[in-house]
């Protein structure tokens, strides 16, 4: 059985599909979205992940680093990412957790062992496992092995995907996954390219193909002011989704900046530092427009009326 790279397993995930779920985060993603809230999931390989606020400048890591990539300033640790080979020696030494590695290799059996721990909770309300990322379809072999194993054990599955992968991968995954959580970010191809680094053609074509197969899909729309919350984009999204042969619900996920500092921990620059969460009115407008297309719309999984 295959192995893959995961960067987290979160239990009691309650916003990633029906019931109580465990979410397994697979590393690697075809997109580079500016507001990615799990940037440590973008690269397929492991990443050095710094928590400078935790550093007590004890210096234990300095001597232990084989390529001498670590230095200290007055108050925290610095890592030269060019020379760092992410061997993990320093992480072992760092007792305060200022130095971490995002990502680890895991076998299918290891992941399943962790996932199965919460079956008693899944059983109560149709819960199960969600494979997220990154984009889990970026490690297709590993993902399909995981899905097969879940099926064998009667664990319901969902995959949280950008859809920006070859059709063959979608086709194989669709044979095993019970539910797709499928992101649509931008309808305008140029803006999609600019904001995510890739064309949206595959995203939309794969979604249409899934709907032709009558696959179970929930569409997720991260709502980001000044990126995709404008009326034109929401209308285009509504028009597209309502044109699909299978009727799919749309879940709006209002943007929050929780992932911003993670970009810095990876030594990257957050490209949308000014972005704010959408106002209630902006969310309500988006809901109204989409409902105008006859779609079932929820906000963070809740019917909007409930507010």
């Amino acid at each position: 059985m295959s192995t893959g790279i995961i960067f987290d397993i979160k239990r009691f995930a309650i916003h990633d599909g029906p019931g109580v779920r465990t979410t397994v985060f697979l590393k690697g993603c075809p997109l580079r979205c500016w507001t990615c809230h799990n940037p440590e999931g973008q690269r397929r390989d492991v990443d050095m992940f710094l928590r400078p606020d935790r550093c007590t400048v004890c210096g234990d890591c300095l001597s232990i680093c084989p390529p001498n990539a670590i230095s200290l300033n007055d108050h925290t640790v610095l890592v030269d990412r060019e020379s760092c080979d992410i061997c993990g020696e320093c992480v072992e030494t760092c007792l305060t957790g200022a130095l971490e590695i995002a990502g680890r290799e895991a076998t299918v059996a290891e992941v399943i062992e962790e996932v199965e721990r919460d079956t008693i909770y899944y059983d109560e309300g149709g819960g199960g496992v969600t494979f997220s990322g990154g984009d889990p379809l970026h490690q297709p072999r590993f993902l399909v092995d995981l899905l097969e194993e879940c099926k064998r054990r009667d664990i319901r599955t969902a995959v949280d995907t950008s859809g920006c992968v070859p059709r063959a991968v979608v086709r194989t995954v669709a044979e095993w996954a019970d539910l797709f959580l499928y992101d649509i970010k931008l309808m305008d191809n140029e803006r999609h390219r600019q904001f995510t680094g890739a064309s949206n053609r595959r995203v939309l074509q794969n979604l249409r193909w899934l709907s032709e197969q009558e696959a179970h899909v929930r569409i997720r729309l991260p709502l980001i002011p000044d990126v995709n919350a404008d009326e034109t984009n929401i209308r285009a999204t509504g028009a597209f989704v309502s044109s699909l042969p299978t009727r799919y619900p749309v879940d709006i996920l209002p943007y929050h900046s929780i992932g911003a500092d993670k970009h810095e921990r990876l030594g990257r620059t957050y490209r949308l530092p000014e972005a704010k969460a959408p106002s209630d009115a902006e969310v309500a407008d988006a809901v109204g427009i989409l409902e105008g297309f006859g779609l079932d719309v929820t906000v963070r999984g809740e019917s909007h009326a409930f507010k």
Binding site: F12, I14, H15, G19, V20, L95, Y121, E124, G127, F306
Partner: protein, 788 residues
């Protein structure tokens, strides 16, 4: 639904009234004993004292009250019980001036104590006798903080009423007494005379309560005569009618039922200062027939029933727990008197007990938002999800009630202890989380037991490192232990040593209460005291259980796990290195502390390495305590809860191998160490679910959730799924603090703005601002389980 003007007024008055110490009861009981110093049996004398109290104490009816009667002369005027514990002037000064759970003591009352009460009671209190009768080993262990003693200044209580008062009046009880008096066998039963005395005492108490109610009837009638407001005049006349009817006769309607219970409650808490003040138990089941009847006859509406219940609620809040001092104040630092009203669950025949009154009571809990009475839902697999969802909506508002119990496992626990299945189903939880067969059991909590302290003494070969005193047995220098099993064997021997000391003490203390302070009024109410002609303190109840409440299972587990992991398995440090770091309170050993805290398996993360050790430690405690005989013909069982004792116990334990520094609180109940659980609530529940709750008499699991987690229909669904799953693992109880850390910190900064902030502490809810700083900090430290 907004509160009526009447209820709003009564509630505000109750919330704002300061707790004061009242010397009324102390004076009356002193007067009685001064005059009546001998001549009758202890039971009859106690009954006469009870009658004297109820004849003499001030009666009053407050503006707008519908349910009447107070233990003291005014709301929150709290009596003392000098026959048990006569407070010294120093005690009074502490009570008056301490920052938390204080009682205003007037100069006049101080004078009364100085001149009259203290001189009379010196050398005559049960408390003095009790300490005098304990062995030096007991005293050493008590002083070291190995265990506490529940009966040193409060009476055994720990019982709850069943449905009998809704079917029988006190005149019926008198008939039962008479029948038993008439059938005493003075030829064949060597205890016939004692039984005769006990039954006579019960009879006196029954009359006393009827007469007490009559005094209220007279007062209400008199007030009605001069009342100008016609509506109030009618209410007062009605109150007079009700008080003439109950408790002499069975209640005919909803109002009479509530007033009847309230008189009984006052009787119990006036006779003695029982632990777990007593409560009506399954109030929804008891009231439901009269509620339906009232609606059908048109004599009651949902609204009038609601208002009566709200007036009833205020009554509980008017009665703080009697003043506690010393270790008893440390272990139970709260005004709350643990009247835990049970909702839902199953009926004695096993069917679903949730009814319209259940939901009405849940409304009342939400609308009244009072710290007392406490409330719980008894969740059975038979109950529909609407029931826990309704409760969750109250929790979401940040109110620490109701707590949630697993009705089905409670029935299992009680049946395992030997109750009939019907008696088990008519039982439930009370106090914090303790189980009992309501109306039929004396389930006596005897004291908290400091499990991590026993390990500490084991690691010091019988010595208490805090004082240097040898108080345990020598189980060997741990540096010479070759295997982990050697350590466990030493711990188990030390544990047995201290449990033996505790049980020996209990066996004396139980007899002191039976011989010197029988409780004939309470005995009237609990089966089978009348049939057996035997006092509640003397084994009269159908079931008699003694508990020793284990504290700090999480801390103990993580400590033992750290030693096994680092010293015996991974060998990252030697026993000597570890003991040195503990002795130095980690000063100069910060890295060792971080390794112990963060690089070690911890209980609460669904990690079998730590959880298996928890199970072994649980079994050790169970085997040492469960099944021992008490003096009342019953047996010992265990439960795992701390009230506020984990703070006190932590203060006497030096640094521990889980990375905790000296004096910090221990873990509470069966919850993981504060902040040690890093994998969310499902992992916590899985870890805790690995213990066999069905062999306990109650465990307490505290989970702190941010309000966002319960938001929306989905949030409620997932909350219910979490609870139901934990209960499928036979978890006994779970309670939620739904509050964000920011709010708690703000409340610490500006307590006056957050006076109404109620949080779950450990088995009960309390005003956050009334808690000690240490306890406040501890609540803040509990891991917040935000959803992803």
């Amino acid at each position: 639904m907004p509160l009526s003007e009447r209820v709003r007024h009564l509630r505000e008055q109750s919330v704002n009234a300061p707790a004061t110490l009242s010397s009324e009861r102390a004076l009356l009981v002193t007067e009685f004993y001064e005059r009546d110093d001998a001549g009758t049996s202890p039971a009859v004398r106690r009954a006469e004292a009870f009658r004297y109290l109820l004849e003499q104490k001030h009666v009053f009816i407050g503006d707008g009250e519908l349910i009447v009667g107070e233990r003291g002369p005014a709301p929150k005027a709290t009596p003392t019980f000098p026959e048990i514990c006569c407070h010294s002037i120093e005690d009074l000064q502490i009570l008056h001036s301490r920052e938390k759970v204080s009682f205003t003591v007037s100069e006049k009352d101080c004078q009364t104590f100085r001149d009259r009460l203290i001189p009379f009671w010196k050398g005559r209190t049960l408390r003095e006798l009790l300490f005098q009768e304990m062995t030096p080993e007991w005293q050493d262990a008590y002083d070291a903080g190995i265990f506490t003693e529940f009966m040193e200044q409060r009476a055994p209580g720990h019982t709850v009423l069943d449905g009998k008062i809704y079917e029988k009046g006190f005149l019926d009880f008198k008939q039962d007494i008479e029948r038993n008096l008439n059938t005493l066998d003075f030829f064949g039963d060597p205890r016939a005379y004692e039984k005769q005395q006990e039954l006579k005492a019960m009879d006196i108490c029954a009359d006393a309560l009827i007469q007490y109610a009559a005094r209220y009837a007279t007062l209400a009638r008199g007030m009605a005569e001069v009342e100008k407001d016609l509506t109030r005049k009618r209410e007062l006349e009605r109150i007079a009618d009700v008080c003439n009817r109950v408790p002499a006769h069975a209640p005919r309607d909803f109002w009479e039922a509530l007033q009847y219970y309230w008189f009984v409650h006052l009787g119990v808490i006036t006779e003695l200062n029982t632990w777990d003040s007593f409560n009506p138990g399954h109030l929804d089941q008891h009231l439901h027939p009269l509620y339906c009847q009232g609606l059908a006859e048109g004599t009651l509406t949902e609204e009038s029933a609601r208002e009566l219940l709200q007036c009833f609620w205020v009554k509980f809040n008017n009665h703080p727990a009697p003043p506690k001092v010393g270790v008893t104040a440390e272990e139970s630092g709260t005004y709350t008197d643990f009247a835990q009203i049970n909702l839902g669950g199953v009926k004695p025949d096993g069917s679903d007990a949730v009814n319209d009154v259940t939901y009405l009571l849940l409304d009342v809990i939400e609308e009244m938002r009072l710290v007392q009475p406490s409330s719980s839902i008894q969740l059975s697999k038979r109950n529909a999800d609407r029931f826990p969802r309704r409760a969750a909506k109250i929790l979401e508002t940040g109110f620490g009630q109701p707590s949630i119990f697993n009705c089905d496992v409670i029935v299992q626990e009680l049946v395992r202890q030997g109750k009939t299945v019907e008696d088990a189903r008519s039982g439930g939880s009370s106090g914090c989380v303790e189980v009992g067969a309501f109306g039929k059991e004396n389930y006596n909590l005897t004291g908290y037991f400091n499990m991590p302290k026993v390990l500490e003494i084991t690691l010091n070969n019988g010595r208490d490192p805090r004082t240097g005193k040898a108080i345990g047995i020598e189980t060997g220098d741990p540096r010479t232990f070759e295997t982990f099993d050697d350590l466990m064997a030493a711990y188990k021997r030390q544990l047995r040593h201290f449990i033996d000391i505790k049980v020996r003490g209990n066996n004396v203390i139980e007899r002191l209460w039976a011989l010197y302070l029988p409780t004939p009024f309470l005995s009237l109410l609990i089966d089978d005291c009348i049939e057996r002609g035997t006092d509640y303190h003397d084994g009269g109840a159908r079931y008699n259980t003694s508990y020793i409440q284990g504290v700090g299972l999480g801390s103990l587990t993580d400590t033992v796990t750290a030693i096994k992991y680092h010293v015996f398995d991974e060998r990252t440090m030697s026993m000597q290195e570890l003991l040195q770091a503990l002795e130095d309170d980690f000063t100069g050993h910060e890295k060792t502390r971080l390794v112990l805290r963060d690089r070690t398996p911890k209980y609460g993360n669904d990690d079998d390495y730590a959880d298996d050790i928890m199970r072994e430690l649980f079994e050790a405690y169970f085997e040492t305590v469960d099944g021992r005989k008490n003096t009342k013909g019953g047996t010992y069982h265990i439960n795992l809860l701390p009230t506020t004792c984990h703070i006190y116990f932590g203060s006497v334990v030096q640094a521990t191998a889980d990375g905790r520094t000296a004096g910090e609180p221990l873990s509470e109940g069966v919850s993981p160490v504060q902040g040690a659980d890093r994998h969310g609530p499902t992992a916590v529940c899985r870890s805790v679910g690995k213990m066999d709750h069905a062999r306990t008499g109650g465990t307490l699991l505290n989970q702190k959730l941010t309000p966002g987690l319960l938001r929306g229909e989905q949030g409620l669904d997932k909350f219910v799924q979490l609870v139901r799953s934990y209960f499928r693992m036979d978890g006994h109880h779970i309670q939620f603090n739904v509050i964000d850390t920011a709010t708690l910190k703000a409340a610490q900064e500006e307590p006056e703005k957050y006076r109404d902030l109620v949080v779950r502490v450990a088995g009960y809810s309390d005003y956050f601002c009334d808690l000690s700083k240490a306890l406040q900090d501890e609540i803040i430290a509990r891991t917040e389980h935000a959803g992803l």
